[in-house]
């Protein structure tokens, strides 16, 4: 294999792919990037077996071929190279880089030791706007569970239909759900449970203005736009029926300024218990009282003005969950709804414009001890 490439193109390709290379692995070849020539460009592939990234960069190919070479070392070298064309050649299992007066030889591994990347055909699938997908990922993936006891909750549920797409994530204590319209579709509806690591790669590699093709093949889901492809292994199993836990009959409503509530909750969290992070919120007409009492530490009290409709209510929350959910609310005002102290509360953005955001977060309350 022999090709000439600009330093910038080589570096960009390596940066894109390197993030998918695992830092620790039992398969040495996974520390490498697979290079393969293709017409007037080269493909670079990297994978940690859960997520695979494939990027095509323009290059002048003089001799076709393929080889795997250590990804991180190559990235470190190209970062420091002068801004000259880089001549890359391979000999047996070695890759050689020449750039100006710099010359490097690195040991690689044969290309056939590299795992076969999933073959996903993008003829049938969905087309989504990069910006819409980024928004969905940003507003939901934070709620994914990190506990291993229920692996199904370690992923984001992505429901795709012919007209809209929805993402849902939960850890059993709080939940985030967002719906967006879809560009176009040549496939029927489908649900996937996608690992958040793959969604992070999608966020990192695609721009808002990109039109992404999304398609599934067997165990894998693929994202493609231009010369960049991301593949991910899907999580196996059935996602819990989240609709069941979203309350439909919450009759108490509060509208509050997001920043003011965030700030008050953060103040209360300072004095809250390190174990439970419990704060008490007492809603009444026109205001909410925030209280915290931690016997070993002390107590705190705060008060906030808001619009409130319904009977007076005292409810407890984990301050961290509440803060997390508030952080991802896209509007200045949020609507909170409740039914009873032991029932789930919901938070939704309040938008005055016509394009209503279909976004809902749910937080389970904590039992209050008198």
């Amino acid at each position: 294999m022999r090709f000439t490439i600009t330093r910038q193109n080589l570096h960009n390709g390596l940066v894109a792919v390197s993030a998918s290379i695992p830092s620790k692995t039992t398969l040495p070849v996974l520390s490498n990037i697979l290079f393969s020539t293709d017409g007037d460009g080269i493909w670079m592939n990297g994978t940690d077996l859960d997520v695979a990234v494939r990027v095509r960069v323009p290059a002048e190919v003089l001799e076709s071929g393929n080889l795997t070479a250590p990804g991180r070392k190559l990235q470190e070298i190209t970062r420091e190279l002068p801004d000259h064309p880089v001549e890359v050649t391979t000999q047996n299992d070695q890759i050689e880089l020449r750039c100006g007066r710099s010359h490097f030889k690195l040991n690689g591994l044969p290309a056939d030791e590299f795992p076969t990347l999933p073959s996903v055909g993008f003829d049938e699938g969905w087309t989504v706007k990069g910006g819409d997908l980024q928004r969905l990922i940003h507003h939901t993936s934070f709620a994914v569970s990190t506990e291993e006891s229920r692996p199904i909750l370690n992923g984001v549920l992505w429901e795709l239909s012919s007209s809209e797409m929805r993402m849902v994530a939960t850890n059993g204590h709080r939940l985030a759900r967002m719906t967006m319209p879809i560009g176009s579709s040549t496939a029927t509806g489908a649900d996937f449970i996608v690992p958040p690591a793959a969604l992070q790669q999608v966020q990192r590699l695609f721009r808002d203005e990109d039109d992404l093709s999304v398609s599934r093949s067997g165990n894998h889901l693929g994202f493609c736009s231009g010369g960049t492809e991301v593949y991910t292994r899907l999580i196996d199993g059935a996602f819990p029926n989240y609709e069941q836990v979203i309350p439909k009959d919450n009759d108490k409503h509060a509208i509050v300024e997001k920043r003011a509530l965030e700030s008050a909750v953060r103040r209360m969290a300072v004095v809250a218990s390190d174990q439970t992070h419990r704060i008490r919120m007492a809603f009444e007409e026109g205001k909410v009282h925030l209280n915290v009492l931690t016997p070993d530490l002390g107590e705190g009290h705060d008060e906030l003005e808001l619009e409130y409709q319904g009977q007076e209510l005292e409810i407890g929350f984990n301050a961290n969950y509440l803060l997390e959910v508030l952080r991802y609310m896209p509007t200045d005002e949020v609507r909170l709804t409740f039914q009873a102290p032991e029932r789930a509360a919901t938070l939704e953005p309040v938008s005055e414009s016509d394009d209503k955001i279909d976004y809902l977060c749910l937080v389970m309350p904590l039992r209050l001890l008198d």
Binding site: E113, E148, H220
Partner: protein, 388 residues
Amino acid sequence: MTLHPLWGHEAERLMLARARQEGTLPSTLLLHGPRGVGKQRLALWMAQLLLCESPEEEPCGCCHSCRLTLGLQHPDLHWHFPLSRPKGASGDRLGEALEKERSRVLEQTRVTPIRFVHLASPFGIYLAAIQTLRRRAQSRPSMGNEQIFVVGNAEALVPQEASPEAANALLKLLEEPPTQTRLILTSSEPGRLLSTVRSRTVPLYVGRLPGETVKRFLEKEAGVDAATAGGVSALADGSIGRALGFLPDDEGVVPLEQLRLRALELVRASLSPKQGDAFALALSFAPTGGRSLVELLNFLDQAIRDVAAVAAGAPERALNPEIADLMQRAGSENTPHPTDAAKCLAAVERCRELARGNVNPQLLIAGLTGDLRHSLLGKGQSPEGSPS
């Protein structure tokens, strides 16, 4: 380097291959049988067959999947085995440290696939390793249609008494493996597996190999000359793993020969008319590290079996050629009856259990030789009065 070909076990291979073809292969298998006969190699062969792109009754051996499996590089093959507990690692870091150690051992196996594997003590398959395995099992296969988890020496899931956490953590997965997932456990001591593990797996006995197969393996795969291969295969007792332990390593040390000779010393001391010989031998052991005796006691089992063979007038059946000479030196009045030798095996088993509990080796050996003397010569303490 790639794994060496699987030698022997043709009947088991055929049965497994046919079960795969008929779609009746269980999701969870337990391959059990003597140590070193190739149970893990058979499990890896099975994995190769399941991952092969054009399998028949044998994996094709030349497709991309087969090449990756033979190089231990297939992303859908996860091979777990007992490891020493990494020092200074605990909590979340233990899982990472164990994966690093597993990676090191796998690399060593890739570079030197044919080598004697001496399980260092203490070793085990720890909870953190099973948590890693469980996490992987929840994902779908990367390349093939299935992912295969091989857990070698699965008795190490309970590294010591009252530590069944790792074995318990595997139960759910054994009972309901996710789709496209298979688990193959191997064990040379299936009795040490939790009954709940045994009841969730389909057992398949993998027996000893014919001596001729072991000899040919040594000649062809390990490059040993015919004379050495013949001598070593006689000591190997149908186990390739054990035969490799009787070959000198890079430093010229023969790892299992030391243990074999030590077992013979135990028999000599037990047959000696002077009880002081037994105590002197006990004192030559270190006062700590009882678990290290387990392997020695396996050799003692064999030496006692040889005592019975010689006592029964069949010295040619003895694996240790020195036993006949040793009994002759002890004198005709000290020659035990074959049934007395059989009674010794129970004493060795009791001692083995105590060794697993990490009892002081000096006490164990003193008690054991007392028991052996009582059984073989009718002298010394009775088993009830002994420390064991």
